[in-house]
Symmetry: C2
C-alpha cells in the first residue's frame, strides 16, 4: 500500500471515530498477518460490526478487486456477525460504502461497478444502521439515490 | 513493543482465530494511530466483541499498567459494546484473560494482582461467552478457580 492508501485509511478511521465508532486499522500491508486475515479497517458500534477494504481513486470509474482478498473480507465479517463493505474515496468526495453483495464476478476479479460506487451508502447511513439495527438485507435506500 | 510482545500478539491472534473468532491486531506500537486509539488485539464472534491489551511475562507476578492506556482500552470497549481484558501470557502457560474491573488503582498505575492473573478466564471461557451470550457481570466462575 502506498502513501495514498495509508492516508485514506487514516482519514476513514478519524471520521468513523468522530461518529462514535470503535475503530481499528489492520497492520500495515505486506506483513504476514495482514495478508492472512485482516481487513483494512474494522468499525464497531453497539455490537454492530462493519469491515472495510479501503480504496482511494482520483476519479469515478469501476474498481477491480483481488478475489481472494474479497473472500477473506467476507469470511472475517461472517465470523464477526458483521457486514462487509468496500470503502471508496474518490478524490475529495465523501466516502462511499458499497456492500460486497453489489460486486460483480468478472472471472479473474470482482468488479465494483461505477454506478454502485455512486449509489453507495454514506457514513451517516452506517451510523443509522447502528442506532436502530436494520440488517443490510432489508435496508431501504433513501429516495435521493 | 519488543520482539517478545510482537510474538505474543501473533500467538494470541492465531489461537483466537482457531476458536472461530474474527481477529484483528492493531498497527505496530509507536505509530500515531496505535497510541491514539487502538487495542493490541480485537476479537469478535457472533457480534460479541472482546478487546485486549497483551502482556507477556516470564513468571507469575503482579503487572502494572499505564493508566491512560487502560482507559483507552475501556473507551474502545464501551463504544463497541464489548468487554475489555488484559491478556496475559506467562512463559509457556495458557493465556489468561483478566477483566479490567479486576484491576486495582494504585495511584500512578493500574495493578493486575498476581492472584487475579491465576484466576483469569481461559480461552474456552471466552468461546462459551459467545456461544450463549452471558454478560460478564453475571458470568459464573467455574468451581475449579
Amino acid at each position: 500500500m502506498g502513501r495514498r492508501g495509508f492516508d485514506a485509511e487514516r482519514d476513514l478511521v478519524r471520521k468513523l471515530w468522530k461518529c462514535g465508532f470503535a475503530v481499528i486499522r489492520g497492520p500495515a500491508s505486506g506483513s504476514r498477518i495482514k495478508r492472512a486475515v485482516c481487513p483494512d479497517v474494522v468499525a464497531i458500534k453497539n455490537r454492530n460490526v462493519f469491515v472495510f477494504e479501503v480504496k482511494k481513486r482520483s476519479k469515478y470509474d469501476s474498481i477491480y478487486l483481488d478475489k481472494e482478498q474479497v473472500l477473506k473480507l467476507v469470511e472475517f465479517a461472517r465470523r464477526a456477525g458483521g457486514e462487509a463493505f468496500i470503502a471508496v474515496k474518490i478524490s475529495n468526495n465523501p466516502w462511499k460504502f458499497i456492500p460486497v453483495n453489489k460486486l460483480v464476478d468478472v472471472g479473474s476479479s470482482y468488479k465494483v461497478p461505477r454506478d454502485e460506487i455512486e449509489a453507495g451508502l454514506d457514513i451517516d447511513d452506517l451510523v443509522r444502521m447502528c442506532d436502530t439495527f436494520i440488517p443490510l438485507t432489508s435496508y431501504k435506500k433513501r429516495s435521493s439515490y
